[in-house]
Amino acid sequence: MKWLGTTVVLAWSIHLPAFAADPAVVDLVDGTSLHTASSALNLPLQWVHENTEDDGLTTVEDISDKALESLSKHPLVEAAERSQVYQASSVFWGEWTPNDPLYPKQWNLHRIHAASGWQVGGGQGITVAIIDTGIRAIPDLEGTSILDGISFVENTKDTTDNNGHGTHVAGTIAQTTDNEIGVAGVAPNSTLLPIKVLGADGFGRSEWIAAAIDEACDRGANVLNLSLGGPQSEVVSIAVQKALKRGVLIVAAAGNTGQEGVQFPAALPGVLAVSAVGPGDELAPYSTWGSSVAISAPGGDKSKPDGGILQGTIDNDFGAFQGTSMAAPHVSGALAALLGAGASPDQARQLLLATATDLGEPGPDPHFGQGRLDLAAAVGNLLINHRGWLFFLGALLTLGVSWIGRFKGARQMLAVGVGGLSAGGAFFLPLLPLRPGLWTATLAQPFIAWPGLVLPWFQLIWYSAFIPFALTFVLGPTKRLCWIPMGGACGAAIALVHLDQAPVLPGMLGTSWLFFNAAICLFCALAVAGIQKQTESA
């Protein structure tokens, strides 16, 4: 494991203006040889890359704007423009590199910036159901949490993969990472739930898949990965609708027809249908596309050098596969990382779609959906725009209430700091070049979420005014530590009202619980302010 100290993760690209000194890009008519074009245009053209010969992309140095303009009108030239500079920019200060020896070959993980997901816990506490051919416990999955699954395939009781597909899919989601073996996964700290619905021949029945979806939900899966498809099925549709109503996220492969017409069940409303891109961010030639495509992700393109998706297979080797089956688990892993970082299911889904890198036609299109998955952009958005905003609100509320209590100097600053941290957590920690670990991921969540991460059995207590009230009762009257309940209660109030839903309690009941407890938190902070003001006056 090592840090690339100066590496900057591409989260958003900043387009810098071109200068006359920059080289020009000349896109030749397909099939034109370099020699013919160089002679006809009287320019020392060079291929952009040896692989761009088919595309006709060339570059030329030292060319004036006027010559460039006339060049674009030449019959051998499709387009000519000044080379644009794209500078990497990001909220992340570095990209951690795991010690898995084949990680450098995993262009797919680099492309989606999987490292940013590791910075926020790598899917810790999240269960992803692999509804597939099963999972084989290969050496590079030894450190991965895999639950006892279930097989719906007839005459097959265990979930051991005897095809290779499911193990590869599972590896993309949660291959043990930084273990000095093989490859890495998108959300290596998530828990896998293997549910076998496809036999060794790669086929399964619709009723098995419907039962698998129900079973996965019953066993607490947060994300279902369906790298499979087939004819429409009413029972599968019903199972999918029930799962979506339970807040479970469903990711499915768009299909491998190379044509328009997203396959079932990916085409069902609410399911995240994933098309596949190759290493050049082009739609993979086999990928199905259509209006139902929500997002695209690396699925591999083996017609390109090292263009497959490398992952562990059942023969204890690492195989490069291609298919939308390989693209879908990137999205499932990314969702697991966001959910593990504290995003709600709706928030995780919206973040992934909103921050995808736009490809093809501007805006959503049938080939790439919202664009290609970019986990760094999604995580960065969650941390800065959401957590950072909560931090600011928590600090602001604390500032106001502490002013009522005549807090001054260090005591007020400490209260404001606790208020911010209590509402938004140490949201900036994952952005720093620190080794990914549970402690940074935990600290990056609002304080109110901490007890629940350690003791997940009493969620309703943790997501209440219980702790702020206890702190107020014990520390509120003290002069030296009153800033703790002051900031803690204000921050908790902000965090509670910004939660989508209370744990356990459904609908309006949950929302009422959150607002009622937020009001108690605010009352606690005002009580501390009142006590301290009275003490100050006395």
């Binding site: 491998n256 291609q322 939308t324």
Partner: protein
């Protein structure tokens, strides 16, 4: 039972999947025992459309009852 004709291919999808590429360009996904020796050859497949799901997702699935070298040219036919 229906008869389908085309080229038998082991498509490079996932760990690999048997498909019958018809003259129209449709890639029918084949379920059943497929003799690898026929790979790349023009074949005739006897079978029924299947409602099975799978990871191949190249096109409609055919449950193969019998497969052999192509007996006559042409597209997907029914016998």
């Amino acid at each position: 039972m229906k008869r389908f004709e085309g080229t038998l291919l082991f498509a490079d999808i996932g760990p690999g999947a048997w498909v019958l590429e018809t003259p129209q360009g449709t890639r029918l996904s084949l379920q059943g025992n497929i003799p690898a020796a026929l790979s790349g050859q023009s074949v005739t497949v006897w079978g029924e459309p299947s409602d099975a799901m799978g990871f191949a997702m190249t096109g409609p699935t055919i449950k193969v009852a019998r497969i052999g070298p192509q007996q006559s040219g042409g597209s997907v036919t029914e016998s």
